[in-house]
C-alpha cells in the first residue's frame, strides 16, 4: 500500500506572524515548522503502516509544496517515521492560493510512489496559517477520488475504509473504498515525537526535490500573479485596551463582575 501524507510548512503560530509587502504570508523571514495539524495525519499514516499485516509493504511518502526552508516539514515527517519525502519547490509557486496549491499537490500525487499509484492521500484538518480547511476537498475533486474528511477515527480492512466524523449536528460513520483522500482532526490521537533513532534514520531516507516542470505544471498556472483571489489590504488589529482586573476577596469579585455585566446591559 502506498500512502501520501501532505504536509505544510507554516510560520510558528506562537511567534510574530505577519504579511509581506505583496500581502502574502511571510514564510521566509519567520520561524517555520511542520503544521501541527499535519502531524496528526503523519501519525495516522504511520499507525496504518504499523497495523498492516506486512508493515514493510506499506510506504509512507511525505509530500510538501513550499519554499526551500519547507524541507524542514518533510524532514520532521521522516523523523517521525515516514519512509520517504517529496518536496516540490519552485520560485513560481510563491504566493499561490489554495486552488493552485491543490493543483501542484494533485500533480505530485498523480506521479505515485515507486511506479505505483497512491492508495491513500492523507491530510491534516487545516493548516495553522491560512486555516481554510479546503485543500483535502479540492484534492478529492481534482483527483476524482472519494473524500473521507475530518476523521477523528480511521479504520481499514483491506481496501475498505471507515472513518468517524464528528459534525456539529451528528456524529457520522463514513465508508469508502481506496483510493481516496482522508483528512484527520486533532482528535484522532496524539502525534508521536521523533525518537533519537528516528532522527538519525531520517538522514538516510530518500528525499526527492521536484520543480514544476518535473510535474508538468505550467508556471503560469500558479503563484501570486494568477491567484483567483486578491488581497486588497491587511491591517493589524489594534491591541485591546487594558481592562479592569479585580482580585476576589470574600465575594467581592462576583459582585464587581455582576456590576460590570449590568453596566454593559448584559443583565
Amino acid at each position: 500500500m502506498k500512502i501520501a501524507v501532505c504536509v505544510k510548512y507554516v510560520p510558528d503560530a506562537t511567534g510574530d506572524r505577519h504579511f509581506e509587502e505583496d500581502k502574502t504570508v511571510d514564510r521566509v523571514g519567520v520561524d517555520g515548522l511542520l503544521s501541527e495539524l499535519d502531524e496528526y495525519a503523519v501519525e495516522q499514516a504511520l499507525q496504518l503502516k504499523e497495523k498492516a499485516e506486512n508493515p514493510e509493504d506499506v510506504v509512507v511518502t511525505a509530500l510538501c509544496v513550499g519554499p526551500e526552508a519547507a524541507v524542514d516539514a518533510v524532514r520532521k515527517a521522516l523523523q517521525m517515521g515516514a519512509d520517504q519525502g517529496v518536496h516540490v519547490v519552485d520560485d513560481a509557486i510563491a504566493g499561490s492560493d489554495a486552488i493552485a496549491t491543490s493543483l501542484v499537490l494533485a500533480k505530485a500525487i498523480e506521479r505515485g510512489a515507486d511506479g505505483a499509484p497512491y492508495d491513500l492521500v492523507m491530510c491534516g484538518m487545516a493548516s495553522t496559517d491560512g486555516s481554510m480547511s479546503v485543500v483535502p476537498a479540492m484534492l478529492a475533486e481534482r483527483l476524482s477520488l472519494p473524500q473521507l474528511t475530518l476523521a477523528s477515527k480511521v479504520e481499514t480492512q483491506g481496501a475498505q475504509v471507515r472513518i468517524q466524523r464528528d459534525g456539529d449536528t451528528a456524529t457520522e460513520v463514513v465508508g469508502g473504498t481506496m483510493p481516496m483522500v482522508i483528512s484527520v482532526t486533532d482528535q484522532s490521537g496524539e502525534a508521536r515525537y521523533p525518537s533519537f533513532k528516528g532522527i538519525m534514520a531520517a538522514k538516510k531516507k530518500p528525499l526527492e526535490t521536484l520543480s514544476l516542470s518535473d510535474l508538468g505544471v505550467d508556471a503560469g498556472d500558479v503563484g501570486l500573479s494568477v491567484a483567483w483571489t486578491e488581497v486588497a489590504e491587511t491591517t493589524a488589529r489594534p491591541p485591546r485596551e487594558a481592562g479592569e482586573i479585580v482580585k476576589d476577596e470574600e465575594g467581592s469579585g462576583a459582585k464587581a463582575l455582576a456590576d460590570f455585566l449590568a453596566a454593559k446591559k448584559f443583565i
Binding site: 505577519h18 464528528d166 449536528t169 463582575l257 455585566l261 448584559f266
Partner: protein, 320 residues
C-alpha cells in the same frame, strides 16, 4: 442585476439564522436567491421563511439521491443550480461541510474562493470580503478575481434584515455522478439537543477550561442564567469533560459573541484564535499571570468554583 445564491443552512428544513444573515449580505451584491438542498416537501416552508429576508427565487433540490453521501453530491447539485442562475456570487455558511462544498465548487467552476468571511460589501459591483486571520491579530480585505466569487460566511457576520422577496419556488432536478458517491454515510448519531443557543450563533458564550477540574456545573449554570451557550477549551475537551463540538479555538469553533466569559482558561494562542474577536471579554482565573487577562475588558482573579455561582445568584436576582 444578477442573482446572488445563498445555500440555505438548515436542519431537516428548519432554516438556521446564518441563512438570513447571508441573504442580508447577498442583498448588498445583487438579487438574493436561496438554494435549498433538502426534503422536497419542505420546499414551500423554506421559501416562506427565506422570502421574509429578501429571497427572490428559491431553488429547491430534493436531497433524496444526495443525502447518503458526504459533500461531493451537494457540490455537484450547486454547480448545476449555478448553470441555471449564472449568479454574481455564491454564499455558503462557513461550517466544516460548507467549506468543503465551497472548495469543490471552486475547482469545478474555475472560481476563486474566500473562506470565513466576517463581512461582505460591494465595491463597484465587486464583492469585497473581510476576514480575521492569524488568531484574530490581522484583518484582511480580499476579493475574487476569477470566475464566480464563492464565499463562505461565518455566523454573526450581519444583523439579519427583513425584506420582501418573491420567494418563487423553482424545483431543480440534478444529476449526481457515480464518482461523487464514493464516500457513503453508513451511520449517523444525532447530537442531543442541549436547549441552549448554538455556540457560533450565541450572543453570549460562557466557557470553561482546565481550571474547572472537570466540573462544568458553575459554567453551565451561569450560562443558563445569562441565556448563553457553553464552550470549552481544548484542555477541557482533551480531558474528556466535554465533546469536541464544544471546543473553542484554532481546531474548534471560532466565536465572536457580544460577551465572552472564560472561566479557568489560561488563554493560549490556540484558544485566542477562537474568541479574540469577541466584543466584550471577561475572565475568571485563579492565576493572575494567565495570558487571558491581557485580552479582557474585565477580569476577576479568583476561584471560579466560588466566583461563578455567586455571579449566577447576582444575575438571577437582578433579572428577577
Amino acid at each position: 442585476m444578477s442573482e446572488i445564491l445563498v445555500l440555505v443552512d438548515h436542519a431537516e428544513g428548519a432554516v438556521k439564522k446564518p441563512t438570513y444573515e447571508m441573504l442580508t449580505l447577498a442583498a448588498r451584491l445583487g438579487e438574493p436567491a436561496a438554494v435549498f438542498i433538502g426534503p422536497k416537501d419542505k420546499g414551500s416552508e423554506v421559501a416562506e421563511a427565506v422570502k421574509r429576508y429578501g429571497a427572490g427565487t428559491v431553488y429547491v433540490v430534493d436531497d433524496e439521491a444526495l443525502k447518503g453521501y458526504l459533500v461531493a453530491p451537494k457540490a455537484e447539485a450547486l454547480q448545476q443550480v449555478m448553470e441555471k442562475s449564472s449568479p454574481g456570487a455564491v454564499l455558503i455558511a462557513s461550517s466544516a461541510e460548507g467549506k468543503e462544498i465551497a472548495g469543490r465548487l471552486a475547482i469545478k467552476t474555475g472560481s476563486g474562493l474566500i473562506t470565513d468571511a466576517v463581512d461582505v460589501e460591494s465595491d463597484h459591483d465587486t464583492a469585497v470580503t473581510t476576514q480575521s486571520v492569524f488568531a484574530g491579530n490581522y484583518t484582511v480585505k480580499a476579493k475574487v478575481t476569477r470566475g464566480t466569487p464563492i464565499i463562505t460566511v461565518k455566523p454573526n457576520s450581519a444583523a439579519p434584515q427583513e425584506a420582501d422577496g418573491a420567494g418563487t419556488v423553482e424545483e431543480v432536478s440534478v444529476t449526481v455522478s457515480d464518482a461523487a458517491k464514493g464516500a457513503q454515510i453508513v451511520a449517523s448519531q444525532p447530537r442531543k439537543a442541549t436547549g441552549r443557543p448554538e455556540l457560533t450563533e450565541a450572543a453570549i458564550v460562557v466557557s470553561g477550561g482546565r481550571g474547572t477540574g472537570g466540573s462544568f456545573e458553575p459554567v453551565e449554570e451561569l450560562a443558563d442564567a445569562l441565556g448563553a451557550a457553553v464552550g470549552a477549551s481544548r484542555a477541557a475537551v482533551d480531558s474528556g469533560w466535554k465533546p469536541h463540538s464544544y471546543q473553542i479555538g484554532q481546531t474548534g469553533k471560532t466565536v465572536s459573541p457580544q460577551l465572552y466569559i472564560a472561566a479557568g482558561i489560561s488563554g493560549a494562542i490556540q484558544h485566542r484564535a477562537g474568541m479574540q474577536t469577541s466584543k466584550t471579554i471577561v475572565a475568571v482565573n485563579k492565576d493572575e499571570e494567565a495570558p487571558i487577562f491581557e485580552l479582557v475588558d474585565f477580569g476577576v482573579v479568583g476561584d471560579l468554583h466560588t466566583v461563578l455561582p455567586a455571579v449566577t445568584e447576582e444575575v438571577k436576582q437582578r433579572k428577577a
